[in-house]
């Protein structure tokens, strides 16, 4: 499975890609579109990315994790329009010992959140629309134009 995808993410495919008879532990993480954000009700959202850079960075994050721990890692981030309940990101990590699997899985999601050039535009049931910005005090900025980008 590609690291960036516009299709629904299949966790079992990620698990299959990392599991092997030597590895007795598999830790996974799913990030799922929530129905609320900052007290508002989310209707839908759109993920966009600087795709060549996001692809390269996500592959680099996977390699780093595999270098830091004795693990195999698969990860996928979804792009495009998503609804509440859809899987936005999925990670599967297999290892011989469970500590490595847990620690590496946590590492990968933290790195994805801080390093992947991916952006999220949320639309609420009150008609409002924002760019989500985890670094701003309000957590988001209003969308000016209706045109999507990149």
């Amino acid at each position: 499975m590609d690291v960036l995808t516009r299709e629904p993410i299949d966790l079992s495919a990620l698990i299959k890609a990392v599991e092997s008879p030597e590895r007795g532990a598999v830790a996974t993480f799913l990030g799922i579109v929530r129905n609320h954000h900052g007290g508002r009700t989310v209707q839908e959202l759109e993920y966009t990315a600087y795709e060549p850079m996001a692809t390269e960075r996500l592959r680099a994050i996977v390699s780093e994790a595999e270098g830091l721990w004795s693990v195999r890692v698969a990860a996928s981030h979804r792009l495009g329009a998503l609804s509440v309940g859809d899987v936005a990101v999925a990670i599967a990590v297999a290892s011989e010992h469970r500590n490595d699997a847990f620690v590496a899985c946590r590492f990968v999601i933290e790195e994805i959140k801080s390093r992947l050039p991916v952006w999220k535009r949320e639309r609420y049931d009150d008609g409002g629309e924002v760019w989500v910005d985890p670094t701003s005090s309000s957590g988001a900025y209003p969308v000016l134009s209706q045109s999507s980008n990149a």
Binding site: G31, Y47, T48, A49, Y50, P52, M53, A54, E56, H77, A88, V89, I109, I112, K113, S114, R115, L116, P117, V118, W119, K120, R121, W131, V132, D133, P134, T135, S136, Y141, V143, L144, S145, S147, N149, A150
Partner: protein
Amino acid sequence: MFARYADLLGADRLEVPSSVAATIGDLVTYVRGLPGGATLPFRPFVAVNLAQVEMDYMPKPGDEIAFLPPMAGG
């Protein structure tokens, strides 16, 4: 330009005269002077040819320069 920055500037690609941008810092100053650009931070994340660079980086003609809003994946 991506996401909110494209939105602020009303464009996802900009043509910039090479004379205004000896360094990335110069380029940021130029872009912040464009209509809608003043809201950009003084030191945004900038990538050149897919790699993040500092403000003193000197781009070459043909480089792909990207202004990246704070990342919000995952």
